[in-house]
C-alpha cells in the first residue's frame, strides 16, 4: 500500500487549512436558520451587460485559448481603467497579465520574485493566502502586526525594524480584508521613504481598491520611485461582483512581468476566455455599477458600525472593503469561543479574527456583503448572545 506520509512534502502538509472555513463542520443539517455574515464575496449578481458579453462570446464561438497574457483588447482596457481610476499607466503589451483571479496574480508575483530563504514582510491581520503561498516557494514570512489603536495601518518604524538584508518583498494588503483599513498617500510615502534605495519589491494587493468610503484609494505605485518596484494585483471579483468568473490581473515592470508570464504560461496557459470577453464589457461600461454597489455597501457599513456601537462593541470604522472587525475581547471569550458559541446558540456565523493572523485574536470579522435585513437579524441575535454573556449564561 502506498505510504502517503512518505510522498507528501512536509512543506505542504504543514500548511494549515484556511481558518475561515473552520466552523463549516459545526453547521448541522438541522440548523436551518443560520445567518451567515462570513463570506468574502459580493451579494450582487454580476451586472447584466457583463453576463451578456460572456454569453455573446459563447454564442459566437469564442471558445479558444487567448494569448497567454490575455486578450490584447482586454489588456488595453485594463490600462485605460488603471489610468482612469488610479492614475497608473502600464503597457498592455509588456506589463499586464490577465490572471485566474487575484489569487493567481499573488502566486505568480511571489514565485517570480522570491527565492528560498528570502524574507517576505506580511502585515496582519490580512487575507489568508500570503503566508502559505510564500512558504510554498520556500520563502520566510515575517509578520508585521497592525493594531486597532493605529487603525490597523502599517507603522513605518515597525516596518523598518523588520527589514533585514534578506527582505525581498513587502506585501501591502490595502484596503484590507478583514480590518477595513486603508493607507493614505501620506502614509504610503513614509513606507516608500524606507524602501526607495533598497532592492525590496512591493506586492500591492488592491483587489478592494474600488470599495473605499469617504476617500479614494491611492496605489503606492503612483508614488515617485515606487512603480519600478511594485507589483499591483487587482481583479474583477469584488468591484464587478464577478467572483465566479475567476478573473484578475497583475501589473508590474516588464522585467518582472516577463518572468511571471512564464509561470502563468506553463500553469494556466490563458485565463478563461468567456470571462475575458465579459471583463471587457465590465471595464468599458461598468463604472456606474461600481458606483451603485459601493454606495450600497456604504449604507450597510454605516448600519453595522452604528449597530455594533449601540451594542457596546467597539470597532474600527472601516474605510474600505466590505468587512468590519469588531473588538470582542471584552467579553472574556477567545475569538474562537465567541464565534463557536454564537453559532451554536444563535446560529450566527462570523469569523474569528485569529483566522487572519495571531494579532487578530480578540476580534472577529463580520462581512456586510448581505442585505440590510439579513445584517439586522444577525446583529440582533448577536445582541442577545452578548446579553447571555453579561448575564453569565455563557461558561
Amino acid at each position: 500500500m502506498i505510504d502517503y506520509g512518505k510522498i507528501l512534502p512536509q512543506k505542504i502538509v504543514e500548511i494549515p487549512k484556511s481558518g475561515i472555513r473552520k466552523y463549516f463542520d459545526m453547521i448541522t443539517p438541522d440548523m436551518k436558520d443560520v445567518i451567515s455574515l462570513t463570506v468574502g464575496q459580493p451579494d450582487f449578481v454580476t451586472p447584466w451587460h457583463i453576463r451578456e458579453a460572456g454569453i455573446q462570446s459563447l454564442e459566437t464561438g469564442k471558445t479558444f485559448y487567448t494569448a497567454n497574457a490575455g486578450l490584447e483588447e482586454l489588456r488595453r482596457e485594463i490600462n485605460l481603467y488603471m489610468s482612469r481610476r488610479f492614475a497608473l499607466d502600464y503597457d498592455p503589451k509588456s506589463e499586464i497579465i490577465v490572471t485566474v483571479g487575484g489569487s493567481e496574480a499573488i502566486d505568480i508575483a511571489m514565485r517570480a520574485t522570491l527565492d528560498v530563504g528570502d524574507e517576505v514582510i506580511i502585515p496582519t491581520p490580512s487575507f489568508v493566502c500570503y503566508e502559505p503561498l510564500a512558504k510554498m516557494v520556500g520563502a520566510t514570512p515575517v509578520i508585521l502586526e497592525t493594531f486597532f489603536e493605529d487603525e490597523f495601518k502599517i507603522n513605518p518604524d515597525k516596518l523598518k525594524s523588520l527589514i533585514t538584508n534578506k527582505t525581498k518583498m513587502i506585501v501591502l494588503p490595502f484596503p484590507n480584508n478583514p480590518t477595513g483599513a486603508i493607507m493614505t498617500k501620506e502614509e504610503l510615502e513614509k513606507i516608500s521613504d524606507i524602501i526607495k534605495d533598497t532592492n525590496i519589491v512591493i506586492l500591492s494587493d488592491e483587489i478592494y481598491a474600488e470599495m473605499t468610503y469617504g476617500t479614494k484609494h491611492c496605489s503606492i505605485a503612483t508614488i515617485e520611485g515606487m512603480k519600478e518596484r511594485t507589483i499591483v494585483v487587482n481583479g474583477f471579483s469584488k468591484a464587478y461582483a464577478m467572483t465566479g468568473w475567476r478573473l484578475g490581473w497583475v501589473c508590474a515592470p516588464a522585467p518582472i512581468t516577463e518572468q511571471m508570464l512564464k509561470i502563468h504560461q506553463y500553469e494556466i496557459m490563458s485565463s478563461p476566455t468567456t470571462s475575458q470577453f465579459a471583463a471587457i464589457s465590465a471595464l468599458r461600461n461598468g463604472d456606474d455599477d461600481i458606483a451603485y454597489m459601493t454606495a450600497e455597501y456604504d449604507k450597510r457599513r454605516t448600519l453595522i458600525y452604528n449597530k455594533l456601537l449601540e451594542m457596546g462593541i467597539e470597532s474600527f470604522e472601516p474605510k474600505g472593503a466590505f468587512y468590519i472587525f469588531p473588538k470582542i475581547s471584552q467579553f472574556g471569550l477567545s475569538g474562537e469561543e465567541f464565534c463557536s458559541e454564537l453559532l451554536k446558540r444563535y446560529h450566527v456565523a462570523i469569523v474569528p479574527g485569529e483566522a487572519f493572523g495571531k494579532c487578530g485574536e480578540g476580534f472577529a470579522r463580520i462581512s456586510y456583503a448581505y442585505s440590510v435585513h439579513h445584517i439586522t437579524e444577525g446583529l440582533d441575535r448577536m445582541a442577545q448572545f452578548i446579553n447571555d454573556i453579561k448575564n453569565g449564561k455563557v461558561k
Binding site: V39, G40, T302, K307
Partner: protein, 161 residues
Amino acid sequence: MENKLLTLLENDATLTPEQLSKMLDKEVGDIKKLILDYEKEGVILGYKTLVDWDKTSREYVTAIIEVKTTPQPERGFDRIAEKIYNYPEVESLYLISGGFDFAIVIQARTLREVALFVAEKLSPISHIQSTSTHFVLRRYKDKGVIYGAAPEVDEREIFGE
C-alpha cells in the same frame, strides 16, 4: 440626505426607522419626523406590497388602453383624466406623447369586465374619440421587480474567503 432616505424607502418600504437611522447616521427621531413630513407634504404617497398574483388562485386580467381625445378648450386634458382615474379599476393613467393621448392600465377580474369598462364607462366620456385595448399576456417586470422568476436564494457558501 433627502434623496438617500427616499431612495431607500422607495426600494424597500419595510426598512424601520431604527435601521434607516443607522444606515444614514441620523437620530431615529429625526428619521421619523422626516418620514412624517414627507407623508404630510405628499412626497410619500403610500406604501404597498408587490404581489405576484399569478402564483395564487386569483383570476384577473390586465389591459393597457390607449385613448385618443379632443381636449377641452378651457381645461385641457385634466378634466378628462379626472373622469378616467376616478374609476377604481384604473390602476395607472398617463398622458403620453405620440399617436394617442392617454395610456390607461386597468386590472379587472375578467375580459368581459374590461370590455364593459371600455364600452360603458370609458367611451361615453365626452371628448374621447377612440380607444385601443391591449390585453397583457404576461408581466415580466414591474416597478423594477422581475416577476415569475424563482425566488432569490443566497447560493454563496456559508463560509468563504
